[in-house]
């Protein structure tokens, strides 16, 4: 196994480890967070043209 493959295997282990942590703690970097900011009002309506 090449050095690149070894590093890639460790990288995959890290991904799996992160996934285990995320599943256990219900974590997601994509989850909604924070209140609506003042600039977020007013951007309504269809975008259809």
């Amino acid at each position: 196994m090449s050095r690149h493959s070894l590093i890639y295997g460790l990288f995959c282990l890290g991904i799996i480890g992160f996934s285990v942590f995320a599943i256990r703690d219900g974590y997601s970097p994509f989850a909604s967070a924070g209140a609506r900011g003042p600039m977020m009002f007013g951007g309504y309506g269809p975008t259809h043209k």
Binding site: H4, I23, R24, G26
Partner: protein, 469 residues
């Protein structure tokens, strides 16, 4: 045994007769060493470059050199062991197909005969003449030594551009043969047609540094800018390993994702929001989360929305610490007709996720503000202090109604779940896992493209170059 016999030292063995036959060049007078006397047909003077007839007693000049002599990187007469056989370099020839140039060293071993060390400027290949014809393989290739070879391009002329040393055939600058190549990764079968005679040579690519170590020249830097036709892709083993590791990791990711468990419903309630009316506040009490951390998902459904929207602001407040976590969502739906026909857009059921919420009992405060879309002039309403507290399950009438104050209302159902899996995590994990296999795949495809570049457009330059680190 007599004393005289004991005293007399044994006579040293006679040195083996030299196999090198020195002769003088009739053109310049320099000494020319014929290393394989009896077999050599032509020899090229290393002083003036003239091609001499080695079969003639007085070494007649076949052709005078028409250019200044160049010194081959491996000196003639140098010996080196390649794959278990010691070879001596006796001749050096440079050849060109008009676009690509390469060098060939003629090697000699008294037991093995002749061999070729082909130098394409990057890597060396060891060539041996075949003593039997390769077999045809289904009419589309050749089979030799248990390997299958496919033809690499059309026959092309190869011209000798420089020659020095001695050869078992008459070779001179300008000699042109018609060559056809058949390749398999790591090996090439070269078919040469010259003056009605056809010869087959098997070229096995040597490892990086193998020939350099054998003949004591400097190692060359690995680069894959211009691969040889029979050069195996250095990325293919890495590609195989990368996909094996990646598939194992992806399957593992799916397995552990399946262990995440399903969502559990905590609460669901329905309230009415008045279009362009005052904000409404809904409180869902007693949202219990287990110890540790949990995912909380809030779904708001306003299925009767049409050309209107509802702002939903959420505040999840810990009853014990009064710490709150805020988020928001927007339910909206718009439709109409234009020259292309009917259209619609928007999401009547927005989902809002809270990530990694600590265990405890929470109150979920939902602030709703509904608005009718009246074109670009629509604006948000002015909040008023009209709030109501609700707990447990509410109702849903599924349609537009009228508020006690006469405004049009939209029923909004708010549902709270905990647990479950974030699909975005799985997608992110898969993308990260796939990055390296895809990079290696593109490097492999780029190598193959450069390897076959001479087949298309006569070997156009490809600026994509890679070095193996």
């Amino acid at each position: 045994m007599t004393d005289e016999a004991l005293a007399a030292p044994a006579a040293p063995p006679a040195p083996p007769p030299s196999t090198v036959k020195p002769v003088n060049c009739p053109n310049c007078g320099g000494t020319v060493d014929i290393r394989v006397a009896g077999t050599t047909v032509s020899v090229v003077c290393s002083h003036c470059g003239s091609t001499l007839d080695a079969t003639s007693p007085d070494l007649q000049v076949i052709a005078k050199a028409d250019s200044a002599l160049r010194r081959p990187q491996i000196a003639l007469g140098k010996r080196g062991a390649l794959r278990g056989t010691t070879w001596e370099t006796v001749g050096y020839v440079e050849r060109s197909d008009g676009e690509v140039e390469w060098a060939e060293y003629l090697l000699f071993n008294p037991y093995e005969g002749y061999a070729f060390l082909v130098d394409d400027g990057r890597r060396f290949s060891l060539g041996r003449l075949l003593d039997r014809l390769p077999a045809s393989h289904w009419g589309i290739g050749l089979q030799q030594g248990g390997q299958t070879f496919t033809r690499f391009g059309d026959p092309y002329p190869v011209r000798v551009t420089f020659v020095v040393g001695e050869f078992y055939w008459r070779v001179a600058v300008g000699e042109t043969v018609e060559e056809t190549d058949y390749v398999t990764p790591g090996t090439m079968l070269a078919c040469e047609d010259y003056a009605g005679e056809r010869t087959w040579t098997r070229l096995d690519m040597l490892d990086w540094g193998e020939a350099e170590a054998a003949f004591g020249i400097a190692n060359r830097r690995r680069n894959y800018d211009r691969p040889a036709p029979h050069e195996p892709s250095p990325f293919k083993p890495k590609l195989f390993e990368a996909w094996v590791i990646g598939i194992i990791a992806a399957v593992t990711l799916f397995v552990i994702s399946g262990m995440a468990g399903s969502q559990q419903r905590i609460a669901s309630t329905t309230t009415d929001a008045v279009l362009d009316g005052p904000e409404k506040t809904l409180v869902i009490k007693g949202v219990v989360l287990p110890p540790g951390r949990s995912r909380v998902e809030i779904d708001a459904e306003a299925s009767s929305l049409d050309n209107s929207w509802v702002d939903l602001d959420y505040s999840l407040t810990d009853q014990k610490t009064q710490d709150s976590i805020d988020s928001y969502g927007t339910a909206e739906f718009y439709s109409g007709t234009d020259s292309d026909g009917a259209w619609s857009e928007g999401d009547r059921r927005p989902t809002t996720d809270f990530s990694s919420i600590p265990g405890g009992t929470y109150d979920l405060v939902v602030t709703l503000s509904a608005h009718k879309w009246n074109g670009a002039g629509s604006s948000s309403s002015t909040p008023v202090s009209d709030t109501s507290l609700m707990g447990g399950h509410g109702f849903a009438d599924g349609g537009w109604g009228a508020s006690p104050t006469g405004g049009v209302t939209v029923p909004v159902t708010v549902t709270v779940d905990r647990g479950g899996l974030f699909g975005g995590n799985i997608i992110l994990g898969l993308l990260l896992i796939l990055i390296w296999p895809i990079i290696v795949l593109f490097r492999h495809l780029g190598f193959e493209k450069r390897r076959k570049a001479v087949l298309s457009s006569g070997g156009d330059d490809d600026d994509d170059s890679w070095s193996d680190d």
